[in-house]
C-alpha cells in the first residue's frame, strides 16, 4: 500500500464516519463539531490532489468561517443541552431507502465506467495561473463568472443584513 493510498483511506474513513455522525447526532452543537472534522479532512483530500491553494481556502472559509457562523446561530437559537427529538422510524426508513437506492445506483454506474486516466502530475497549481485564469477573457478564462460571483456576494451581504436587522415596528 502506497502512502497516497493510506492517506486517501484515512481521510475517506474520517469523512464517512463523521458525516454519518453529523446527520445522526442528537446534540446539535456536536453535529456542528463533526461537520468541522468532515470539512478539515476534505481539505486534506484537496492537499492529496495537490490543490494547495484550494485546500487553504477550504480551511479558512469553511472550517474558519461557515462553521463558526453555524455555531453562532446554534448558540443564538437553541439551548446548549437541548437534545433533538428522534425522527419517526418510518421517516428514517424511507429516507434511508431513498439514499441507499440512489447511492447504489450511482456507485454501480461509476464502477462499470472505464475512465481514461492520465499520468498523475504532481506539480501544484501556481497562484499566478489562478489569478490569470480568473481575470482573462479568452479561452479558459473566467472573467465573467468572477464578476457575477462578486455581484452575488454583494447581494448576499446586503440581503442578509436586511433580513437579520430588527424591524422598527
Amino acid at each position: 500500500m502506497t502512502t497516497n493510498q493510506f492517506m486517501f483511506l484515512l481521510f475517506s474513513a474520517v469523512i464517512v464516519i463523521f458525516s454519518l455522525l453529523t446527520v445522526t447526532s442528537r446534540r446539535i452543537l456536536r453535529a456542528a463539531t463533526f461537520l468541522l472534522f468532515v470539512l478539515v479532512s476534505t481539505s486534506g483530500m484537496y492537499f492529496l490532489l495537490r490543490f494547495n491553494f484550494l485546500a487553504a481556502i477550504q480551511l479558512t472559509l469553511y472550517a474558519g468561517g461557515i462553521v463558526v457562523l453555524i455555531i453562532f446561530s446554534i448558540l443564538l437559537t437553541s439551548h446548549i443541552n437541548e437534545k433533538l427529538s428522534i425522527p419517526p422510524l418510518t421517516k428514517r426508513i424511507y429516507a434511508a431507502i431513498a439514499a441507499l437506492a440512489g447511492a447504489i445506483l450511482c456507485i454501480v454506474t461509476i464502477l462499470q465506467t472505464e475512465f481514461v486516466q492520465k499520468v498523475f502530475d504532481p506539480t501544484r497549481v501556481h497562484i499566478r495561473t489562478i489569478g490569470e485564469g480568473m481575470l482573462s477573457t479568452g479561452k479558459y478564462g473566467y472573467a465573467l463568472p468572477f464578476e457575477v460571483i462578486s455581484v452575488l456576494l454583494l447581494a448576499a451581504m446586503i440581503g442578509s443584513i436586511i433580513l437579520a436587522k430588527k424591524r422598527k415596528d
Binding site: 446539535i28 468532515v38 490543490f51 477550504q58 457562523l69 453555524i70 446561530s73 437553541s78 485564469g133 473566467y142
Partner: protein
C-alpha cells in the same frame, strides 16, 4: 491513475458523502442541521470536480475554478440562510420546519 489511487475511489467516496447529506436533509427537522446537510452535499461535489480535473483533464484548471465558485456560492448561501433562520427564530421562537406553516404575519 493517481499513484495507486484510481478515480473510482474518489467518485465512490463523494457519492457516499452526497447521499449521507441527502439522508440528513430528508430526516432532520431543525433548519440548522438541514443547512449542515447541504454543506456536506456541496463538499462532495467539490471533491468530485477536483478529482475529475486532476486525474482526467490535468492540462486545464476548469474543475478548480468551478470549485472556487461553488465555495463562494456556499458562503453566500450560508450567510443568507442563517439570516433567515435568525429572523424565523425571532418570530416563532423555534426553528423546526414542521411548525412553520404561515408565510405572512
Amino acid at each position: 491513475m493517481f499513484e495507486g489511487v484510481p478515480i473510482h475511489w474518489f467518485l465512490v467516496l463523494s457519492t457516499t458523502m452526497f447521499f449521507i447529506g441527502i439522508y440528513g436533509f430528508l430526516v432532520r427537522k431543525n433548519l440548522i442541521t438541514m443547512l449542515m446537510s447541504i454543506e456536506l452535499i456541496l463538499n462532495s461535489v467539490c471533491i468530485n470536480f477536483l478529482a475529475f480535473n486532476k486525474i482526467l483533464f490535468p492540462e486545464h484548471l476548469e474543475g478548480m475554478f468551478f470549485t472556487l465558485f461553488i465555495i463562494a456560492v456556499a458562503a453566500a448561501e450560508a450567510s443568507v440562510a442563517i439570516a433567515i433562520i435568525i429572523n424565523i427564530y425571532r418570530r416563532l421562537v423555534n426553528i423546526d420546519v414542521e411548525k412553520m406553516n404561515e408565510m405572512k404575519y
